[in-house]
């Protein structure tokens, strides 16, 4: 969950250190905001064309749905870079610092492996059925599958970065500074 105390764009260690990483994160964020704004625009367009001009469009719904899929998976990638995924803190909160760091690395490793599996399987899905065209917009399905591939690849990369940071700077692991956030 977004910590509403902090400004929405407080950079973490990797972003402060590496300009390239910071640029990458910024691209992700701009992309995500663009997807959100486009979704909003499509919904408004849908209402306007239906009620004001009485010329309903057939493609707004499908396009908006596909943007939601992209928002979901790209968003999950970005969330991993900021360690903002919803997780359960209560048990870990009772642990010592070292144990906490170990558990954090383990949990991130689980996310890393899962993401690699999902990204690979997503690519396989795009390979077998990606050429099927979607009904309303007639774009190939792989454009939708690609959201999962891109998202889980990002998650994998960010979790790898997080593991490295957690090993080198255990004080960055959420909770170790006695600050709790879901």
């Amino acid at each position: 969950m977004a910590d509403t105390n902090e400004p929405a764009d407080a950079p973490d260690r990797m972003e402060r250190r590496s300009r390239a990483y910071r640029t990458a994160i910024n691209i992700e964020r701009v992309g995500l905001c663009a997807v959100l704004v486009a979704m909003f625009g499509l919904l408004i367009l849908q209402v306007i064309t239906r009620y004001l001009f009485n010329t309903p469009l057939s493609w707004t719904e499908e396009t908006a749905r596909f943007l939601l899929v992209w928002l979901t998976f790209l968003g999950a990638g970005y969330l991993m870079s900021r360690r903002l995924h919803i997780s359960v803190d209560l048990l870990v909160a009772r642990m010592g610092r070292q144990a906490m760091v170990a558990v954090d690395i383990l949990a991130t490793l689980v996310a890393l492996v899962t993401s690699v599996v999902m990204a690979t399987a997503g690519a396989a899905l795009a390979h077998t059925t990606g050429n099927i065209l979607t009904p309303a917009t007639e774009v190939p399905m792989w454009l939708v599958h690609a959201a999962a591939v891109a998202g889980f690849t990002l998650i994998a990369l960010h979790s790898l970065a997080n593991i490295v940071v957690s090993m080198r700077h255990p004080e960055d692991v959420p909770g170790t500074a006695a600050q709790e956030g879901a």
């Binding site: 928002l71 999902m118 956030g181």
Partner: protein, 426 residues
């Protein structure tokens, strides 16, 4: 067997602070790998499919709406208006807390947005004025649950898409229970402050009140657009949420409340919160697919019907089950997983689908306040700086009013079904 080890694996992963979305994915992927006829591609297909539905577009839109209301000062205006009218009453800030949440609930689809906003403004104000910290946090936490009961509501949207119930009907079904909750929480405030005469503020004059009311009035516009659009058949709930966003944005631009930086913050925060909910919905869809494939719905139905023939007893059993489920799962994920299993069973007991829906949602959002996955507990601890243990201590007494409301909702179906019926949804 499959269901048992999958549940245990889920719990273990959650305990190890594996993000909820991944904790749902891992056992599902293991299942798919172990079953020679199931494939990983299909796992991805079902994960994507979980968020590839039109009604879910309302999730980011409702979150955007709530963030916009907070950032554009709309929430503060509702707070100021509530304060102007209630200040002189004993325990006033407690009532203001509840009433502001009620006002905010018409613009917010989640309890999380409410807890974050109220926690930042009202908790420090109340503590400064001498309200005990645990009580302050308790009332803030409990009143945040009004949001998902009043339209717009993300749990209601997700429930409606999962169970095939009308979203409009679902939305109005929660209103009476929400008002009941407001009443119960006000009683709680009264009980706590009945002997504390110092907990009151100077009475505001009618001039102040009128001005506060006028500045807060635009907030009502959002409710009118959203509810009016849905009930009037002009927009789907999804489109209504976008229209609400357009309205709040216009109001904020006119009153010059939005800077470019604020807009950027609103968008980013919306992306972050939506993303964290949506990935759980996607993963839960896969978990739910595995349950369906293992015929869990049929098994649950057989088991329940064997245990009892009484609808009320069935609902009580459901409440107990959901109390446990709600304690470990985020409400949207829980709805996606349990509703396809339980809703058909409820049907066979002759329970009204809307009645059942409200029971499930109320149950699961109460889970937001129970450890270990009590999101509201963590959010309040985060925004107020109080340790989680203090937050839990504060919330504990509020389970009395919440459980009472739940019990009434279980026993009196009309609380959930009368309004939708009166408005022609049934």
């Amino acid at each position: 067997m499959t269901l048992l080890w999958m549940t245990l694996a889920l719990l273990l992963l959650l305990a190890l602070r594996v993000p909820v979305g991944f904790a749902l994915l891992v056992p599902s992927l293991v299942y798919v790998t172990l079953d020679p006829s199931a494939s990983l591609s299909i796992a991805v297909q079902q994960t994507i499919s979980g968020v590839n539905t039109f009604p879910l577009l309302a999730v980011p839109m409702f979150i955007l709406l709530g963030n916009l209301a907070n950032t554009s000062g709309m929430t503060d205006r509702v707070y100021a208006a509530a304060l102007a009218f209630l200040a002189h009453i004993r325990g006033s800030l407690g009532y203001v807390n509840v009433v502001t949440s009620f006002g905010f609930s018409w613009m917010s689809g989640t309890a999380m947005a409410d807890a974050a906003a109220m926690g930042r403004v009202q908790v420090p104000a109340m503590i400064k004025r001498g309200y005990p910290e645990p009580f302050t946090i308790g009332v803030t936490a409990a009143s945040s649950l009004i949001s998902p009961l009043i339209p717009p509501s993300i749990p209601a949207i997700i429930y409606a898409t999962t169970a095939g119930v009308s979203v409009g009907a679902m939305f109005v079904a929660g209103i009476a229970p929400a008002i009941l909750l407001v009443t119960a929480l006000c009683l709680m405030v009264w009980w706590h402050t009945r002997k504390k005469d110092h907990l009151r503020e100077p009475r505001a004059g009618w001039g102040v009140r009128l001005r506060a009311l006028l500045t807060a009035l635009p907030a009502a516009g959002a409710a009118v657009i959203i509810l009016g659009g849905i009930l009037g058949g002009v927009t789907t709930p999804t489109e209504a949420s976008a229209a609400g966003v357009l309205y709040l944005f216009t109001v904020a631009l006119i009153s010059r409340e939005l800077t470019r930086r604020k807009i950027r913050d609103v968008l980013l925060r919306t992306v972050e919160t939506s993303g964290s909910v949506l990935i759980i919905i996607a993963s839960a869809a896969l978990f739910g697919w595995v349950l369906a494939r293992e015929q869990a719905p049929q098994a649950a139905a057989d088991l329940m019907l064997e245990l009892t023939e009484s609808p009320i007893l069935f609902l009580v059993l459901v409440c107990l089950l959901l109390f446990v489920v709600g304690a470990v799962l985020e409400p949207s994920a829980a709805i996606l997983i349990v509703v396809p299993v339980l809703a058909p069973v409820a049907d066979s007991y002759g329970i009204d689908p809307l009645h059942f829906a409200v029971v499930v949602i109320l149950n699961l959002i109460i889970g937001l306040l129970t450890p270990p996955v009590g999101l509201i507990l963590f959010i309040l601890s985060g925004v107020t700086g109080s340790p989680v243990s203090t937050v839990i201590r504060g919330v504990l007494p509020f389970f009395v009013p919440m459980a009472s409301v739940l019990l009434l909702v279980v026993l009196v179906p009309a609380l959930s079904t009368w309004l939708p019926q009166a408005l022609g949804f049934l």
